[in-house]
């Protein structure tokens, strides 16, 4: 059975590209554009892994991730963002909230590798 990935990003192009790439690598993908849609999708069809942007319209991505983890605990989260963080910030703050942090400039192959590692494939 295919593993299910939930993608949360307010940019349609980002969602479409990630969907095309991950579907082509044999994953079932759900894409949403807001925190509200993410909560609904996560509860109705719990994913195996979540990829989220930090900068979401009307909400903070980390806050949404915290709420999702409460609703569907135990699911790994990748923060995929265009905002450049300092390594200390990543180590100190983000590592407690997410399982992996990647820049949006990270190649797709590297993103796939991170997904597989977190899903233990």
């Amino acid at each position: 059975m295919k593993k299910h990935i939930l993608i949360v990003d307010d940019e349609a192009d980002i969602r479409d590209l990630l969907n095309e790439f991950l579907s082509g690598n044999d994953y079932r993908v759900t894409t949403v554009g807001s925190a509200g849609e993410a909560m609904l999708a996560g509860q109705s069809d719990p994913p195996d892994l979540i990829i989220s942007d930090l900068q979401l319209e009307n909400t903070d991505g980390l806050e949404m991730i915290a709420n999702l983890k409460k609703a569907i605990p135990g699911k790994p989260v990748i923060l995929l963002t265009g905002v450049l963080f300092d390594p200390e910030v990543v180590e100190g703050v983000l590592s407690t909230k997410v399982d992996s942090y990647l820049m949006k400039t990270t190649p797709l192959s590297r993103i796939l590798e991170t997904v597989r590692n977190l899903l233990k494939e």
Binding site: D13, F21, T106, P107, L108
Partner: protein, 367 residues
């Protein structure tokens, strides 16, 4: 095969003709014998009548004479197409006529009770001569026919043998031909099987090459698709990053100038336009010193440097928090605190980033 068939058919035709001739010859012989028998019957019944005077014997004799005539006619008809035999049969006509007349005379004389006439006629040699003549001709005719039969039997036998040998030779030739054809067909089949095998092998090879090529193309296609996706992702994420960075820079309230190595302005942020009231086209490519100047020489310098900014840029050093002034479009000087940072590309200084923090607000200008 055609030649053998032609010869066989011709020989069979000849055999049929020969059979017809034999049947005809037997018919002639039979009629000859029948004629002779009728002659004997006529003689016998004649003598019986002469002895008995019984009218029935007379009738029998006359019947025998009629039979002789019938058989003569039949013989004549049978030999119509054979001139030699026909001529020989013709030789019977006179003696038969003489005999018939003599017998008739005797019968009449006997019927009339003229025994002396009967005796005279019997003693005369006319009847005997006729009979002898007829028997001679009949014997000659019969012997001739028998000789021809024997000759024809021999010829027929030879012909049958020839036909048999012709047919058997034909059969043997046909068997040889068939064997030859079978051998050629076998060769042809063998060659076709070899060609089929070669074609099948070539086909299998082509199929495997096609499959291999299809796999390669599929793999190349997947690779290209992945590369394409990566390219699109990279383009999009770079564009996204640039957009974010631009927004961050545009939202800074400090004035930011980007200059070339020679300190000509190449880029300004919106804060510059807002504070100076100038538009970007009037500032781009202008020397920075026409807009901004340091108020005092940098601290720690031994002597005032003619152009501290150029010096710092050339040395690749930062210059921080230096008092300076910026001139707006109305010529009004606005005090600022200046910092300079070399703009590096692969560790080479290619320009400078100059930030100005306004220390005393000036009158607002629309940007």
């Amino acid at each position: 095969m055609i030649a053998v068939s032609t010869v066989a058919v011709r020989n069979i035709g000849r055999s049929v003709d020969s059979n017809d001739w034999v049947n005809h010859t037997h018919a002639v012989i039979l009629e000859t014998e029948a004629l002779r028998s009728s002659l004997l019957v006529a003689n016998g019944t004649l003598h019986t009548y002469v002895l008995t005077g019984d009218p029935r014997d007379q009738t029998a004799c006359r019947n025998a004479l009629a039979d002789i005539d019938d058989h003569f006619q039949i013989l004549s008809a049978l030999t119509r197409l054979a001139p030699t035999d026909h001529a020989k049969v013709g030789q019977l006509e006179l003696p038969i006529n003489r005999y018939s007349r003599s017998i008739e005379e005797l019968l009449v004389a006997k019927a009339a009770g003229q025994d002396n006439t009967v005796r005279t006629l019997l003693e005369a040699s006319t009847i005997n001569n006729a009979v002898r003549e007829m028997e001679r001709v009949i014997k000659s005719l019969k012997d001739n026919q028998l000789a021809l039969l024997t000759e024809r039997d021999t010829a027929s036998y030879h012909q049958s043998q020839t036909t048999r040998w012709t047919v058997w030779t034909g059969v043997a030739l046909n068997v040889l031909l068939l064997a030859g054809v079978a051998w050629l067909i076998r060769d042809d089949l063998s060659a076709r099987r070899q060609v089929t095998t070669a074609l099948e092998e070539a086909n299998r090879f082509l199929e495997s090459r096609v499959k291999e090529r299809t796999r390669e193309l599929g793999s190349a296609n997947r690779h290209l698709s992945t590369e394409n996706l990566e390219r699109r992702w990279a383009n999009h994420s770079l564009e996204h990053q640039l957009r974010y960075n631009q927004r961050i820079i545009d939202s800074i309230s400090d004035l930011v100038f980007v200059t070339t190595h020679s300190l000509n302005i190449s880029r300004v942020n919106p804060a510059v336009l807002h504070v100076t009231g100038a538009d970007s086209t009037s500032l781009i490519s202008k020397p920075l010193k026409e807009v901004v100047r340091l108020v005092v020489a940098p601290a720690g310098s031994l002597s005032p440097l003619p152009d501290p900014l150029k010096y710092a840029l050339k040395a690749g050093q930062d210059l921080r928090d230096q008092p300076a002034e910026i001139q707006d479009r109305l010529g009004q000087r606005i005090p600022v605190v200046l910092s300079l940072f070399p703009l590096r590309d692969n560790n080479r200084v290619v320009g400078g980033i100059i930030t100005l923090r306004v220390t005393r607000p000036a009158s607002k200008h629309s940007a």
